[in-house]
Symmetry: C2
Amino acid sequence: MRNVTLKQLKYFEAVAATGHFGHAASLCSISQPAISVQIKELEESFGTALFERSARQVRLTSFGEGILPRVQGILRAVDDLGDLARAAQDGLTGRLRLGIIPTVAPYLLPKIVGNLALEAPDLDLHIRETLTDKLITELQEGRLDAAIVALPVSEPSLTEVPLFEEAFVLVRGEAEADKPVPSMENLREMRLLLLEEGHCFRDQALSFCGMRSNLPREGMEGSSLSTLVQMVGTGIGVTLIPEMAVPVETRSADVSIVRFPAPQPSRQIGMIWRNSSPMAKQLMQISAVVRRAAGAKEGTSA
Amino acid sequence: MRNVTLKQLKYFEAVAATGHFGHAASLCSISQPAISVQIKELEESFGTALFERSARQVRLTSFGEGILPRVQGILRAVDDLGDLARAAQDGLTGRLRLGIIPTVAPYLLPKIVGNLALEAPDLDLHIRETLTDKLITELQEGRLDAAIVALPVSEPSLTEVPLFEEAFVLVRGEAEADKPVPSMENLREMRLLLLEEGHCFRDQALSFCGMRSNLPREGMEGSSLSTLVQMVGTGIGVTLIPEMAVPVETRSADVSIVRFPAPQPSRQIGMIWRNSSPMAKQLMQISAVVRRAAGAKEGTSA
DNA sequence: CGTTTCTCATAATTTAAAGTTATTCTTACA
DNA sequence: TGTAAGAATAACTTTAAATTATGAGAAACG
């Protein structure tokens, strides 16, 4: 037995609707024999007549009558697939699983969520905050759709798009507020508080200070920027934090902020996703939204 | 845009299930390129990717994930059509709209209904009782599937199948119970009570008595055999009824029954349906059930 | 009653779609 | 950096679905 096709079901519906092979044919924009043959094959597939043909009339058999609503349901369901597709492709809809590194998430997220809620209300946003390495793994395993990290990540299977440049500022005790900007040498002599191993910002800070990553002394690591700033407030040492974190983290700590003269230390934050991601176009749109949300200078294309 | 086909949906389901084009292909018993091409066309139809192909893995996109359950629903619905067909064709199932003439219905129906309930429990039986002319009209208009009437009807568009031969008996007053069987001449002199115009049995009775149909005198017509027998019981005249009606109609009336010597007057009851009816096979089966239900001598085939 | 008309079925042929094998391209992995 | 895995592409074949033309059966009509 040959298989049932959607075409046959469409023709069946048309004949049922018109009660006339010829009219059904023109309704389907094909010739009458084409309909006849396809209906016949459908009947052979079922092993039962769908229509009763008498000279002047074409009537549904009771079986045909029985399956008609089901057939209509099937055809409608198939059409709906197309509608879904149309809804899904243009505009930002559906689920977006976005990873963000911890040194960016708390400061950027409120803005992102707010902007996306406005500009992409149909987007179902899932956020995951963790270290860069983990984000990359999850991205490659298909458990995330995109991630916001510090560039570059230099994974050949991932596409990078810059979002904004983020300067680092020095956080020191409130007492030193009026002292001059320390030189590099000064900096190296200070007790620099760092994030734990794994945070990319830790490496970026070390790199700026021209230190090797195996330098750190005991008791000088914190698990978040917030902790570091609090530690600075107690006078243990100094630390670096990204510009973006300043308003939030220094609000309630006895610390002062120092901005370096140009060339300012900084890092580039960007968005990454699999090269193979079919959401690329949407992700590009989303990256633009995020960029605007960050209120930062436009990055150049990857 | 080319149309979506059921094949494509099947292949889509297979690839989604296996996460591998090659495996999906062998699952569908076709070659891998065939799957690739069909999936690609499906994606083009939708204007969106269904799968994300990276070198080692094939993953559903969120859109693909979204439509997968719907697609499975569609495929299942199509399979169900086939099941329905199988259920409908063999065995007596579905709706059967059966018409029966009034001079047969009350006596035959109880037996038919009982037997069909046993032998075709899945049959949804609709009964319509009315005059032959109306039954034939409704049959030809497709409002009935079959009818039980007196043969012949001689409609070229209808198939006739004999069910049984039914003798007529004379009903006269109880007082005349011991009188001899009346001759034809006697009969013509009696006041013959008849059914109203339109009943075929009226014509059959008249024909047996060798009378013209325009003979009847006022006040001698009844609307049912039951009425006629009651009238006979009051002594107004005599009547003819079919053998089958005897047990029911003479139970509570002061009448006596006379069976004629051979050649007995009789009529043939049969079943009719449209030549074009696709239920012909089933109707033939049903006619056999009805024949057995009537407990009558086997009729010969039409 | 034959004849015309309506309408579905069938036949012959063409066109289009779907499948096959062979090959290429990409990417991961040793 | 070469090898292997797996999807894509190409060239070609097979199969399915159209088309046009024709046939055949029943109703309708003069």
